[in-house]
Subunit: 188 residues, 2 copies
């Protein structure tokens, strides 16, 4: 009978994710992946296929985790607007580590349909939760009724990308907090 796997696949993917987040797809070599994942080169290819497949796996895992974190923050707090604020503040305080979603879009745009599909699926899910929350906040008078919830969701996602690019470009924490404040301000 077979010897069971000893290393955890998700842990290995997390290692790959870290490298891809920092250096992008083209900027990452197989050797960097081997080092960061803590497994042998052959195990890498046996388990994940090739570099591209591994990148997709990392992006998939990142997207679902990030989406979940957003939703959790969104549902936190007593009032709907509190959840929205919590979501923004989480992005602000986590902006120091690069975002693989933004990275993949900056690097590939829409040219790789497999990536676009992954990003769009997470986007769609998250957008749904956002719209729901925005509607609730509007019902409580915390967000202007004139605003279209869908446009606000788009605005959130774009603002997050803006904050993350700002952070990657060297913005200081205070500036990032101000950006979060400005985003909140647009809702009134």
């Amino acid at each position: 009978m077979p010897r069971p796997k000893t290393f955890d696949i998700d842990t290995a993917i997390d290692g790959a994710m870290g490298v891809f987040r920092e250096h992008g797809y083209e900027g990452t070599s197989a050797q960097m992946l081997v080092d960061a994942m803590g497994i042998g080169r052959q195990s890498l290819y046996d388990t994940f296929g090739d570099k591209w497949e591994l990148y997709k796996g990392a992006l998939r895992r990142y997207a679902t985790a990030e989406k979940q974190a957003h939703r959790t923050a969104l549902k936190s707090g007593r009032r709907p607007i509190d959840g929205i604020r919590a979501m923004i503040e989480r992005v602000v305080s986590d902006a120091a580590t690069p975002c693989l979603g933004v990275g993949s879009i900056a690097e590939f745009g829409c040219s790789q349909s497999e990536l676009t599909e992954i990003n769009l699926a997470a986007d769609r899910d998250l957008r749904g939760a956002m719209i729901e929350q925005v509607r609730a906040a509007q019902a409580q008078g915390d967000i202007a009724d004139a605003l279209d919830p869908d446009a606000i969701a788009t605005f959130f996602i774009a603002s997050f990308a803006g904050i993350r690019i700002a952070a990657r470009g060297g913005a200081r924490p205070q500036q990032l907090r101000d950006l979060g404040e400005m985003a909140m301000r647009a809702l009134r």
Copy 2:
């Protein structure tokens, strides 16, 4: 006496810029550059040194051109707020083509000081013009006095990055226009 140069250096750099904008630094090969620039490979290395030097040249040229375009839009219109709106609308309507500034930051972050310096220099210049314009708009009551002009400038720049990433991710023109509207709204 020597034969004068036949190709225009800036035109060649523009060709390189187009490739770098679309594929990033690592995703661009020397052959792609030769094809896009319309010059021989040897001329490329004779004139520009190497790929990295060429990338810096392209970024430098892009940054100054972009900064200038921003300033021109900023100064247009009768009232200061009109200039601000024009600047935002220009970003919205040009968002279809990728931004080399955003691309360089997404790809390298702050790890390459030579790039950071180029981006920061343009940023500093542009920020100065923005602050001036914001103060004028505040004096006319078109932007809330409570807002710090410097924070608004940061917000503009981050919003532009957000809009451009959104566009690169496949956002439709209407969504981009909405993003511009939301950015304007945060100023009230």
